[in-house]
Symmetry: C2
Subunit: 169 residues, 2 copies
DNA sequence: CTTGATACGTAGCACTTGCTACATTGAACG
DNA sequence: CGTTCAATGTAGCAAGTGCTACGTATCAAG
């Protein structure tokens, strides 16, 4: 088990970042401890030195990605008041999507698949992300429309899902 | 490799049915060949006797479920003309959902998670189901509303997703 | 200079995965 | 009666899983 010095904490953060990148790029398939360790530039032995379990590592990587997603939302819809259809359009228009965004979205739906039967840490992460998302939408809407946040969120999720699945013919 | 007699074909169908039940009840986790064989009431050796690969077996089970789902749609919305919101409400109202329906839905979102990176046979199955679904919705709508089928489908998928994830607190 | 903690490598364990080689049974058919 | 072939059991393989035991190099503190 690794100690809790500043040095190891920094190392841990770096590993988490690289593992998050790996997950975005490759998803959960081919993400055994050995593959993750390779992407992090260390041996699998060291991976288990810095993290108690694979699950803990994954949980931290997902958390990091969730924060990143939340931050990027404000870039896509900078105005503080927007109509429902503006929000939906801004988040589902896939012409301008970067590889990174697509990767994160694909990972997102993989997480949902893993979360749906209750599997931790996926379920907790998924619910947290959804909650943040709904809050953010509610904040963008004019006050008398706030109750529609969940419905709009559903529309967005469904649209993204269809976009991703239908892509590549 | 198994022969193609009537007897073995019947046996195969029975196995596929039982495997489909297993998938609905337990999802893709804990669905290795040994677990599937146990649910089918035979040895894993026999599973591979009747089916060339696990993938082929899964593909057939998913196909069976897709047919079942398509059939049950007409039960939920029997009228041939319906408004968009009627359709959405009929398919997302979860107060009346049976365990079977919930199981199938959970499996559906698991399939999506597996399909999203292109994995066969999940991707093909997912797209086929979505296409049928969209057609079915278009058929229910009044002619001047048909172009909205995809949008409505997105709304339904998103709503179901949120329902399932938010359930159980 | 010793001690003790940190940091890291090598090797491997126990288990699960999809799949297979081989042997045997049983029934149908000439 | 003997041959053939479908049907099924026993045993196991090669690869991959998460994880660990054990040894060692490094380096700062006393």
């Amino acid at each position: 088990m690794s100690p809790d010095t500043l040095a190891t904490q920094i190392k841990r953060e770096e590993i988490v970042q690289r593992v998050a990148n790996h997950l975005v790029a490759r998803g959960f398939e081919d993400s055994g401890v050995r593959a993750l360790a390779a992407s992090a530039g260390i041996s699998d032995r060291m991976l288990m030195y810095y993290f108690e379990t694979k699950e803990e590592l994954i949980a931290q990587a997902l958390l990091l990605l969730a924060e990143g997603m939340a931050a990027s939302l404000d870039e896509l819809v900078p105005q503080s008041r927007a109509s429902a259809s503006q929000i939906v359009a801004a988040l589902t228009d896939n012409n301008e999507q970067s590889d990174l965004q697509r990767g994160v979205l694909m990972l997102w739906f993989e997480i949902i698949g893993l979360a749906i039967r209750g599997g931790d840490p996926y379920r907790a992460t998924a619910n947290q992300i959804l909650e943040n998302y709904e809050q953010w939408i509610a904040g963008k809407l004019p006050p008398n429309q706030r109750h529609r946040a969940r419905e709009i969120l559903a529309q967005i999720e469904g649209q993204l899902l269809l976009n991703l699945l239908t892509m590549g013919k």
